[in-house]
């Protein structure tokens, strides 16, 4: 079993290495490890809630491989769009000018797909869940740079801030336990939003 909290601790230690002149390699690994800590924390939460699997079981080990980084990021982006979207405007009266109907249709069609699909007046992600999504998106970008961009250079403060982001993600994931949209979020992390109608 991959221990997300263990990864977070290692990320923190890597970011603190070499007190006078930190090595770029250590800072890069700190950022990458911080991302993986939150990545695995989300996967474990999804497995527990939807497969009811002990994270240490062989079933969980296999199912954990079904999650994809890019799709998880897109789900988090959709969650942010959903959380931040303005409430849909009321539909114009039947005898309203055609332009008002067109404008309303445009607004409807450009709403976030989760908002459209789940009903405009329904639940929204809680601030805690929104923060989890935000942490993941932030760390995803940082990890791409840390792992793949040879020109990317990190300061220790930056690396520590990214580790801090992962820690916030852990805390907010725990704090979102009562959010009614949390189960959907965790389900979508596996299925992706591709199955949700709309663009």
């Amino acid at each position: 079993m991959i221990d997300p909290r263990g990864l977070l601790e290692v990320a923190n230690e890597l970011a603190k290495l070499d007190s006078t002149k930190p090595r770029q390699a250590a800072l890069r690994r700190a950022v990458s490890t911080a991302y993986y800590a939150l990545f695995h924390a989300l996967i474990q939460a999804a497995l527990i809630e939807h497969i009811h699997a002990d994270p240490a079981s062989p079933v969980a080990h296999q199912a954990a491989r079904w999650f994809e980084h890019g799709k998880m990021r897109k789900v988090c982006e959709e969650i942010l769009r959903w959380a931040d979207a303005k409430p849909p405007p009321p539909r114009p009266a039947a005898d309203a000018p055609a332009e008002a109907h067109k404008k309303w249709e445009h607004q409807r069609d450009t709403q976030p797909r989760l908002l459209r699909s789940l009903g405009g007046a329904g639940e929204r992600p809680s601030p805690e869940l929104r923060r989890v999504a935000e942490c993941f998106v932030s760390l995803y970008g940082a990890r791409m740079q840390a792992d793949y961009d040879p020109a990317f250079r990190l300061a220790r403060d930056t690396a520590r801030a990214h580790v801090g982001t992962a820690r916030i993600g852990f805390e907010q994931l725990a704090a979102s336990a009562k959010d009614p949209t949390r189960k959907l979020f965790l389900l979508l992390l596996l299925t992706s939003t591709d199955l949700v109608p709309g663009k």
Binding site: Q24, G70, E77, L80, D84, R131, E134, C135, V137, S138, Y140, G141, A142, M144, Q145, Y148, D149, P150, A151, F152, R153, L154, A155, R156, D157, T158, R160, A161, H162, V163, G164, T165, R167, I168
Partner: protein, 115 residues
Amino acid sequence: MAWYRPRMAAPTDSFVTLDDVREALEDVRKQFEATGQSIRFLDPVLGVDATGERTLGVLAVVKDELARTPGAAELMLDILDGVRHAFDEHGLAVWPSVSIIGESDVAALDEEPSP
């Protein structure tokens, strides 16, 4: 900045230009400075990642004492939020990656040769 270059050329079909980015960042800077915090942004970098998604790398420079607190992560997320909303207001869609750095570390990084 020599230490932070685009890893790929900016996409030619992008509907987000560097001018758009600078304008959005200026909005964020004004909002932050209105709260009494000092912030500046280094050269933003537009690019595409390995999956073809547009990317935006933003480096925010703040005072050392702010960058070195545990609250730096919260600040980074707030900046990310601010940048994203600024883009929304301009009708632009891009997903930024924000890093935060203290003033004194900017100079330190510049002194080091790129790997």
